[in-house]
Chain length 252, copies 2
DNA sequence: AGGCGCTTGTGAAGGCGTGCACAAATCGCG
DNA sequence: CGCGATTTGTGCACGCCTTCACAAGCGCCT
């Protein structure tokens, strides 16, 4: 439980720049969370623009400060060219390598209700190198159903299938009450990353990563800012304020 | 654009503790983001447990450090009792007041495709004081459709309906290409908080708060940690590490 | 009434992240 | 070939957040 902040100290063989990207930097978490945004911006720009981009330009496209962007990229030893900018293609390759997107990762989805159906039909998975290879549900009436060409299997088969398909990432879209049980099954099956949509805290071993997406929390944070804004408009210097949390709003 | 970090300095009338909760603390953003989690934990516990709870107990239920929890609660001037703990009912009231959940907030949802349908059918909105009062789509074949008893309207009606229903929060579930245009319409209609599911950066005036939920980013962050873990198992002291970003994993 | 155990609230310290400001590097052009 | 324009990479300072550690406060039991 104690947060051994991934004390990596990677075994970078001293002379291992055999043409490839450096071995493995231990990036700040804040940087990691932004890399996917840079990647998306690069893909959007790459379609129709020049083959290099300045930190200023990319930062604008990704909605961040340019100094932050440069520092982020410098962390992964990126090779920009002073006076010119970053090579778009090279940068995409680097970020994808660091994020491990060059290897296709098998994903399974548990819980095919309302939300699960939407997720199963989402093309944003495949377009980013993730492939949903299996669907699971506990409801016998759903087992066997075909969704996007994939058959819904019973959750009891998860252990077997996870090994067969080498599933690394599990997505939980069951009710909160079932989520912990599902997480346990996933962990037993060797899954080491979980994306949890159920509004609850999951307990997992230290080597398993959990991220959660909680709609209600997002709305409540917005609600707070609404509340605050409302209390401000009643004040003399009723200025408007910005930014909901880390997720900064970009001025128009 | 410059990040005026909501420089509030609220005009707290010096002697305004007229029986209610203190006027308006400017809470750290990190605290605000955790309050909903405490609230959920309290609701779960409140159902079947005692009428007070210790910081240790609540922290465990919310998956955080107990010192952090105490500091968070102290920020909103919470009245715990030393030697005893926090009064569950009172604490719920306080947090709900601060988050502005005592006032029902009207929400509209734009884009009723795959994801939009799931969101429209989600009961987690209503159970937290949010009410979806209108659905909008640009697709004429969808306009008129009834979803959960609500009729899908054309996006051109958004301006009018938003004023009628006093909509404060808009949820965007359209393709990324349409998201900016939808955001503009929402802003014009007076909406001041936006929850964006489309994978893109939105430009909005400084007084509008935007939060985004991006599935692909979450998966890519998990992918990074998978990548890192894989590179560690190949090392001599192949220890396992924990925590995916801020969203800490709880040890089993 | 007094003491004891428990729990809150907070001062202080350290770590992390951000953003400024500038030196170093590169390109293009005269 | 040299110079200026441009842009990267980063040292530094500042502020936010987290965590520890402990004094102050509260209730209960004797
Ligand atoms: N619908 C949304 O828009 C939305 C949004 C955010 C979060 N969520 C959360 O996502 C989760 C799912 O929401 P939903 O609306 O799809 O609910 P749902 O009830 O429609 O679907 C839940 C599915 O999980 C299956 N399930 C139940 N127990 C299971 C188990 N032990 N193993 C495997 N499958 C099991 C059920 O059979 C059902 O198919 C909930 O926790 C909800 O709070 C939903
Ligand atoms: N489906 C998922 O699980 C999922 C998950 C995460 C993010 N997303 C994102 O959410 C968004 C919606 O995903 P989806 O799968 O529901 O897509 P979808 O194509 O099924 O639905 C999009 C809907 O938006 C409507 N629309 C298009 N332009 C519009 C406009 N200008 N105004 C109003 N409505 C408009 C369309 O008519 C359609 O009904 C996408 O940006 C997607 O990337 C989806």
């Amino acid at each position: 439980m104690s947060q051994q902040r991934h004390g990596v100290t990677p075994g970078n063989a001293p002379g291992d720049r055999a043409g490839a990207v450096p071995a493995f930097p231990d990036l700040p978490e804040a940087t990691i969370a932004r890399l996917p945004e840079y990647l998306r911006a690069l893909h959007n720009l790459g379609d129709a623009a020049a083959d290099t981009i300045s930190s200023e330009g990319l930062a604008a496209a990704a909605g961040v400060n340019s100094a932050k962007l440069r520092k982020d990229l410098s962390h992964l030893g990126s090779y920009g060219t002073r006076g010119v900018g970053y090579d778009v293609t090279l940068l995409i390759e680097q970020i994808e390598y660091v994020l491990g997107l060059d290897q296709r990762r098998a994903v399974c989805l548990v819980g095919l209700g309302n939300l699960g159906h939407a997720l199963a039909g989402y093309d944003g998975f495949a377009s980013r190198g993730f492939k949903i290879v299996a669907l699971f549900d506990a409801d016998a009436s759903k087992v066997g159903e075909l969704i996007q060409g994939l058959e819904v299997r019973h959750i009891e088969d998860l252990g077997r299938v996870a090994v067969e398909e080498n599933i690394a990432i599990g997505v939980i879209a069951t009710p909160a009450l079932a989520a912990q049980a599902v997480a346990d099954v996933l962990v037993d099956a060797g899954v080491t990353s979980i994306l949890n949509f159920a509004p609850c805290v999951l307990s997992v071993p230290a080597n398993v990563d959990v991220r959660k997406v909680d709609l209600a929390i997002e709305l409540q944070i917005l609600s707070f800012h609404e509340h605050r804004k409302a209390s401000l408009t009643a004040l003399p210097g009723g200025r408007s304020a910005a930014s909901a949390g880390n997720q900064e709003a970009v001025g128009s």
